[in-house]
């Protein structure tokens, strides 16, 4: 509950005297709609005006802020929605619960929890009375149903609060009437009740009908002042935690859609190969449990009573394959293509005696595969279709599926199901396309799932890249900083591209390509290094790529922070002191101080072990990470069956300032995940391309962080709010962590690594599975081998 707010007008209809109240941050009035409905329903426009917190430069030799300081990726995504966004709505039910359909995808990042918190706070109701569900594809939202760029909370915070504030005001009005025209100023709201004079108390649910509007009309609301927020900023457990631990949480493959039998696809032996001929369709159709065998765009789909029988059928198929899109190519070939596309450095004239530092780093392909493989349910009928899947760009999915099926968009319903992780993977809808096509060709509903081996080999990959830096130094000043990032093309075909098209003219980056725009908008200026340029160039290598958590930034940050350590060494400065004195953003100093204090920066460390430190700013947030790593032979050479060991990160301290933390516990979880990602991409996890396909086929091949790689000591410090609006959090944990691990490794070994992960070019640690058949059979020794 909160104290009564005398100066907060409860009336929400267009009252000119109220509307005239002076606008100030957090006290501005926002517009929404009362919707004609049987119980109280409120709608607001998603993409309501947002405030951008700009950080002033303050160092002695300030750099001119790059585009990311003026208008970053979060702003672009938010702004893109403004002219086109439609309404999102909140309803109050007679049982006192609130329903809200969020037009975003929950994939583990905790947005259903944080959204429930935002509504609960503004409406004065318990968090568990708010039910947040995921909206199906709503084409009228156009650009505003994309879950990406760590943008959900940034873009929905104020609109959702507005809806809740309007609902609260309406409840007060209804209660005032019921209590015999008591003045609104005598009423307040407490934990789901309107309370009035002489102990009067009416439950929200009992006001749901009375507060309903008979006509749809525009109304205004004033939001609760920050000082009176009582839920936002408090640690809350996930709203779906109990379902998760009891096995009740439902993912796409757990849905019971009538008739939707298990379906898998026999995929080509090389990347994106095509089906030339199927030699034994009748024999496979006759196998136990198999009901259908049909060729689709991505391979040969089989439908059976169980997935086990699908695996048998996929393995039995005799398919002649056409060539793939990277036929015969291996890592070194692609690196050579990337090298050819590298942009030259353009150092301006610098004074005599200026020293130049050049660094050059290679980042190999990586996989954004989550634990839940690509999967979707499809029920395609003669003239309509329904799809279920974890989809972060459901509108684009709907459009492409409709086009594939030859149906109008209005005949294709796309439902968004909670996802088993994403890391960028679910921006695409590869399984939904497979499922729709298979269901149409088979004339039957399908529950289609990718095999794990396919998910690594044919699924989306983080593109190979190089990142080069040239810095010039004169005395204690860095005069210039040029970073050139060159990458295999990142696929943006999931619809983000439309946003760019819509907003390109308004961007301060001029007429450049889409990837270059995202790069420019995501790469903040981190240090006052004089003349700073950060550019991206790309080559198209025929790969299935996509954004992996934090897109370019983890690679760019590793290159930047390793170079920064070398600049510090040139000036004989401590890495922490150097970063603090050159930090572009004032907030960076606070997070640096925090990790240094908590992590005891500079403490004496045994030989072969070291600390490392790094920063990263993005999504209106700043972060710093301190890492301790153990590179002693005893640790590096420890043995784990079928596991990658090597250097072990023993301690991580991570400080994060996201402006306004909504749920510190959820934010901590996001940073923790980012730390584990950072450890993996720097030390252990990559895809190896050989002869046109990726060798990795299981989690023992793709070495994401496992228990034996986890630091015993991980501390995440959520900094106090520095803003009245939340920044992004889903990806912010990765770059500073990856970079701090890299700097710690360099300091522990005395050698700056030039490729990542550091083990990529070492002898392969696994025997690659065959490519024909494309998926391995499941073992049979599970009773004796755990």
């Amino acid at each position: 509950m909160r104290k009564r707010d005398e100066d907060r007008p409860a009336i929400t209809t267009n009252d000119p005297s109220v509307a005239a109240s002076p606008p100030s941050l957090g006290r501005r009035r926002f517009v929404g709609y009362l919707v004609a409905a049987p119980t109280l329903a409120v709608a607001v426009r998603l993409g309501l005006d947002e405030t951008v917190d700009k950080q002033p430069a303050s160092a002695a030799v300030p750099s001119v802020g790059g585009p990311a300081e003026i208008f970053d990726l979060s702003d672009m995504l938010t702004a893109a929605g403004m002219p086109t966004a439609n309404l999102i709505s909140l309803e109050l039910r007679t049982d006192g619960t609130v329903g809200f359909e969020l037009p975003r995808a929950e994939v583990g990042q905790g947005i259903t929890t944080s959204t429930a918190m935002i509504i609960a706070d503004e409406l004065d109701i318990a968090v568990d009375k708010v039910e947040v569900t995921l909206a199906p594809a709503r084409p009228e939202l156009i650009f505003n149903q994309l879950t990406g760029g760590s943008n959900t909370t940034h873009s929905t915070y104020t609109p959702i609060r507005t809806a809740a504030a309007i609902a609260r005001g309406r409840l007060l009005e209804a209660a005032a009437l019921q209590l015999g025209n008591v003045p609104l100023s005598a009423l307040d709201t407490v934990e789901g009740f309107v309370v009035g004079p002489n102990g009067a108390k009416i439950a929200y649910g009992d006001l749901a009908k009375a507060a309903a509007s008979t006509e749809t009309k525009q109304v205004q609301a004033t939001l609760k002042p920050t000082s009176q927020q009582s839920v936002i900023g408090t640690a809350q457990n996930r709203v779906d935690a109990r379902d998760a631990v009891t096995g009740k949480k439902v993912f796409a493959m757990d849905l019971d859609i009538p008739g939707a039998l298990p379906t898998m696809v026999c995929r080509p032996p090389t990347l994106n190969g095509t089906v030339s001929a199927v030699g034994n369709r009748p024999a496979v159709l006759a196998m136990p449990g198999v009901t259908h065998v049909e060729t689709i765009a991505s391979g040969v789909a089989v439908r059976a009573q169980t997935f086990g029988q699908c695996i048998d059928a996929v393995r039995a198929l005799d398919v002649t394959w056409g060539p793939g899109t990277a036929e015969g190519k291996s890592d070194a070939d692609i690196l050579a293509e990337v090298r050819k596309a590298q942009l030259p450095m353009l150092v301006p004239k610098v004074p005599l005696l200026t020293k130049t530092l050049d660094t050059d780093f290679t980042f190999w392909f990586a996989s954004n595969s989550p634990l839940e493989t690509n999967s979707a349910v499809a029920d395609v009928r003669a003239d309509s279709a329904e799809i279920w899947g974890s989809l972060k760009s459901p509108i684009t999915a709907q459009e492409e599926i409709a086009s594939k099926l030859g149906m109008p968009v209005s005949k294709v319903k796309v439902n968004v199901v909670t996802g088993g992780g994403s890391f960028g993977r679910k921006l695409f809808f590869d399984a939904a396309l497979d499922a729709a096509e298979a269901s149409q060709k088979m004339g039957a509903p399908v529950r289609l799932m990718w095999h794990r081996a396919d998910d690594f080999r044919q699924g989306r990959a983080h593109p190979m890249a190089t990142s080069r830096v040239r810095a010039t130094v004169l005395g204690k000043e860095v005069l210039t900083w040029e970073q050139r990032h060159t990458s295999v093309k990142t696929d943006w075909g999931h619809g983000l591209g439309e946003i760019i098209t819509a907003t390109a003219a308004k961007l301060p980056v001029g007429d450049i390509g889409f990837s270059e725009t995202v790069f420019a908008l995501s790469q903040a200026t981190h240090y006052n290094f004089g003349v700073t340029t950060q550019l991206l160039s790309e080559v198209d290598g025929g790969f299935n790529t996509g954004s992996m958590r934090n897109i370019y930034s983890p690679n760019a940050a590793v290159a930047r922070e390793l170079t920064v350590d070398q600049l510090a060494a040139m000036m004989k400065m401590d890495p922490l002191a150097f970063r603090k004195s050159f930090a572009y953003n004032k907030r960076s100093a606070a997070v640096l101080d925090k990790v240094a204090e908590v992590g005891d920066w500079g403490r004496s460390m045994p030989a072969g072990t070291a600390q490392g430190i790094a920063i990263h700013n993005e999504y209106h947030g700043v972060s710093a990470c301190l890492v301790e790593i153990d590179c002693t032979p005893a640790t590096v050479n420890r043995q784990v069956r079928d596991g990658v060991t090597g250097p072990r990160v023993t301690k991580v301290v991570f400080a994060v300032d996201v402006g306004l933390p909504i749920n510190p516990k959820g934010l901590e979880a996001q940073m923790m995940g980012g730390i584990m990602d950072g450890i993996a991409i720097t030390l252990t996890s990559s895809l190896h391309l050989k002869d046109g396909y990726f060798l990795e086929g299981s989690w023992d091949n793709y070495a994401y962080t496992r228990e034996w790689n986890v630091p015993a000591d991980v501390q995440v410090v959520v900094m106090p709010a520095t803003s009245e609006s939340p920044g992004g959090a889903g990806e912010l944990g990765v770059p500073a962590s990856a970079a701090a691990v890299a700097t710690a490794y360099a300091r522990a070994t005395g050698k700056v690594p030039t490729e990542f992960p550091i083990n990529h070019s070492a002898p392969l640690f696994f025997d690659p599975m065959p490519t024909v058949p494309p998926i391995p059979q499941s073992p049979t020794d599970g009773l004796t081998n755990y």
Binding site: F251, F307, E707, V710, G782, L783
Partner: protein, 158 residues
């Protein structure tokens, strides 16, 4: 088609399924028990970890024909009943630490954790970081630090 009879979550079941179909698919696709998840089908990711006669195993790698009528299978759905409560202490520890992110690996993680605690306890000792390092379950969301804390806490109340 052969009939397969065994006990799952305290209830005897009989299903028609060929002997070589792995138990995971009998559970998920035939019996509709969807707590154990598919993550690889290779006995690597451990997302399907369940218990057979009180010990952890991975049903993705056991042909249903190898399961006998005397075998008692416990999936995450049946875990609370093994202690006669609404939640097993390990599940409660998971809630206390807000371990889950996407939640996909969590049924397998919890089943593996209970087994680990049982094994360590059988050796008459407390769980150590080295014990936790032996767990092979993948959490791609990377919630490992909370997972490790929850296992230590859950062990206290088991």
């Amino acid at each position: 088609m052969p009939q397969q009879t065994f006990t799952v979550n305290g209830k005897q079941v009989t299903v028609d399924a060929p002997d070589d179909v792995r138990l995971l698919w009998v559970l998920r696709d035939i019996l509709g028990i969807r707590g154990p998840k598919y993550g690889c089908g290779l006995n690597v990711c451990k997302a399907c970890t369940s218990h057979i006669n009180g010990k952890a195993f991975n049903p993705c790698s056991v042909p249903v024909g190898d399961i006998t009528a005397d075998d008692e299978i416990t999936t995450i759905e049946g875990l609370p009943a093994t202690v006669g409560a609404d939640l097993h202490p390990m599940q409660q520890a998971w809630l206390d630490h807000d371990v889950a992110q996407c939640g996909y690996c969590q049924p397998g993680q919890i089943m593996a954790a209970v087994d680990l605690v049982n094994r360590v306890r059988a050796e008459g000792r407390d769980i150590t970081d080295a014990d936790l390092d032996t767990l092979r379950n993948i959490c791609r969301c990377g919630t490992y630090p909370r997972l490790r804390e929850a296992i230590k806490d859950g062990a206290q109340s088991m």
